[in-house]
Symmetry: C2
């Protein structure tokens, strides 16, 4: 792996499709197409054939001495006004992995690059489009009529980019022969920065439980209603929120109250109704279930203490998706060898790797994020940390190819 080439490619892509307002490679737009052309130009220098599958994912591969292949990839699309590294670091590192493998000759097993279509879901609100189609978890009927800000339907827009939505799940055939999936990405959080570590192996993606806690009390005049006669839903919400913070700390997970909406929501009234947004995440399914149960208890206790009633409404959930222990081991060693520490952390955000992990041995490597702000143009990582992550990724790819050649990680049928 030559980190210099990855950094040069990243900077060139940023100058092509970024600028003072950040990256603008929103999927299913002309600038995304331009970013893909940049990728195609680079791939054209290699002895590979480029194909786009039924879900709009771009593939290019080297055959190996043995059957089957290891997949490397990420996504070249971005949110509007996004950062220069989110997705692009992984995609251009995968490119470099392919390039350096080609320079070394025939790899021990095949090596295949993928650029997943529409990881961000920035235009239609559905993330992981291409990878979930490939993994078979996309519900085509659910996304068909999603509309962008201009009212255009997803089905019509992807058709203009050569994707016939009803055939998108046929993308799954691309995984026949796949042995493993490897991705490098920025952390998008402050953990590595706070520990002063450049990179880490990733244990898997958090499971998520999302709920709306609806507290119902009694709207009352702020002047005429003594404290002891109130049924105050903002106080119930406040009590619940502080307890839920402790739930997150106790289980070493994360619990977030994103905000609350009160009715009537004016300065002169005790609010008779407040809705609180709750998001909980953990890598361990039992811990996630316990966090949810304790959050429910906290909300019920808060409601009772403040004379209110509670309804906890389910919004969305996804189970934790752990990565492959053998590959995590390889990634940890690679990070150490590249100058980092022997560390593995969970991923709060979802990634295309989570879709692949449903079907294939999978691992990710994170570089630090500094400042650790996600989906903004301020997103950045020190170059030294990027080099460690890129090097570690290259070593993990190499070690995975060798592991596969040694008889582990059999090709998917």
């Amino acid at each position: 792996m030559n980190a210099d080439r990855v950094l040069a490619d990243l900077r060139e892509l940023a100058s092509l499709t970024g600028g003072p307002d950040g990256a603008r490679r929103v999927c299913w737009t002309d600038e995304w197409t331009r970013a893909r052309e940049f990728l195609r130009e680079r791939l054209a220098e290699l002895p590979v054939e480029v194909e786009v599958d039924e879900a709009g994912n771009l593939w290019a591969g080297l055959d190996g001495e043995q059957d089957g292949f290891v997949i490397v990839g990420s996504h070249i699309d971005s949110v509007p006004a996004g950062g220069w590294l989110d997705g692009a670091l992984g995609e251009l590192s995968a490119l470099e992995a392919l390039r350096s493998a080609a320079e070394r000759g025939t790899p021990p097993v095949g090596l295949r690059l993928v650029d997943w279509a529409d990881e961000e879901g920035a235009r239609f609100g559905r993330s992981l489009f291409g990878s979930s189609a490939c993994a078979g978890s996309l519900d085509v009927g659910e996304v068909r009529d999603l509309r962008d800000r201009d009212g255009e339907r997803l089905e019509d827009v992807v058709a203009r980019h050569g994707v016939e939505l009803d055939r998108a799940l046929e993308s799954r055939a691309r995984l026949r022969g796949a042995r493993a999936y490897l991705e490098v990405h920025i952390e998008q959080g402050p953990v590595l920065e706070s520990r002063g570590e450049p990179a880490a192996a990733v244990l898997g993606t958090f499971g998520v439980e999302r709920h709306l806690a609806v507290f119902t009390g009694q709207t009352a005049h702020a002047g005429a209603t003594p404290m002891e006669l109130r049924r105050d839903t903002f106080m119930a919400t406040s009590q619940a929120a502080l307890e839920i913070k402790e739930v997150g700390i106790r289980h070493d997970g994360v619990c977030t109250v994103g905000g609350a909406t009160s009715e009537p929501g004016v300065v002169t009234a005790v609010p008779g109704r407040t809705e609180m947004l709750l998001d909980q995440r953990h890598l361990d399914p039992d811990a996630l279930a316990a966090m949810l149960a304790e959050a429910r208890d906290a909300c019920e206790r808060a409601a009772a203490d403040q004379g209110c009633e509670l309804e906890l409404r389910y919004l969305w959930s996804i189970p934790p998706i752990p990565f492959d222990d053998r590959l995590i081991g390889l990634a940890r060693k690679s990070v150490m060898d590249a100058g980092g520490k022997d560390t593995a952390i969970p991923s709060g955000p979802l990634h295309d790797a989570a879709e692949m992990a449903r079907l294939l041995p999978t691992v990710m490597i994170f570089s630090s994020s500094s400042p650790p702000v996600s989906h903004t143009k301020e997103e950045d990582t020190p170059e030294a940390d990027l080099r460690v992550a890129i090097e570690a990724y290259g070593s993990t790819v190499q070690a995975t190819l060798e592991l596969a050649a040694g008889g582990e990680l059999p090709p998917r049928g």
Copy 2:
């Protein structure tokens, strides 16, 4: 006083200007004019002359054996879809006080009824229009260009009802000779209902401090940001809100958080900014100042504990307006004599009486509210409680007339 006549008048007014959707006597509308016509018809049966002053307030009076006069009154206007008692109870009880005084012959000092214009401010958002003009506290320039939902200006609308806005403050001349002001009103809160008391004397109106607490922290990814690295403004708000509740309890005042608005306010982000609406009220100015100081401390402590910053923005305030001790004494005794207890409570809401209390010895009597909901058609009071309040009001008027005749409560020059 004949409570039967007051109740009959209240019911007739409700059938004229109410209905299944509640009272509709919004000031400066045709239905308000119709309510006033009802009042004028009743006054036409008495030996009084009816006049409307420069601020649109309606006056009618009996001269007494001695100079000067006691004022009785309230407001016949209502909010849209309001209750049958708010304002009307006081106005029609004042009518009955005038009527029964007329039946008894010449009172010891004069007795004058007032129907204040636009107590509710329902059309233009400025309450206490007529009474504040009469008290001299109305800022004409501030209200001139207020607009209703249809875009009509206050100045133009009141002109159609005979009020030349630039002369409204001349209404003050009506107070020359005034000795005291007496008003009965529903409580609009749950205190008397919760104590099982029908009525009470009122100590004065709460002072109010309104602020916006703005907490600033760091917006962060709900999945990627460990609990210990957060600067979470919703947690700061929650901690502050719970402490502020204790401040209200500790000082026997009221503190209300009407709601909070977080940014970005989505389920997937730790909110980096939250604005919290804060209203605090107390009858004692020192206690109100202490409550504000303690709320500020609570907000600062919460901000510091959660790694956030605080800005406390001033919105509005009004000092407490205490009523007259002698008149409170008369009102307490009258309530007891009418079958209630020896009770006096503060008023959370403002009233026309607060404007009069700036210039004249003033007291109010509250009937219970049950259910204690204000400004809705469900607003109600048991008839037995209304009778106690009406009787007590009549006795207070009589005792005040006698006190004035005895040389106290000198006429205002």
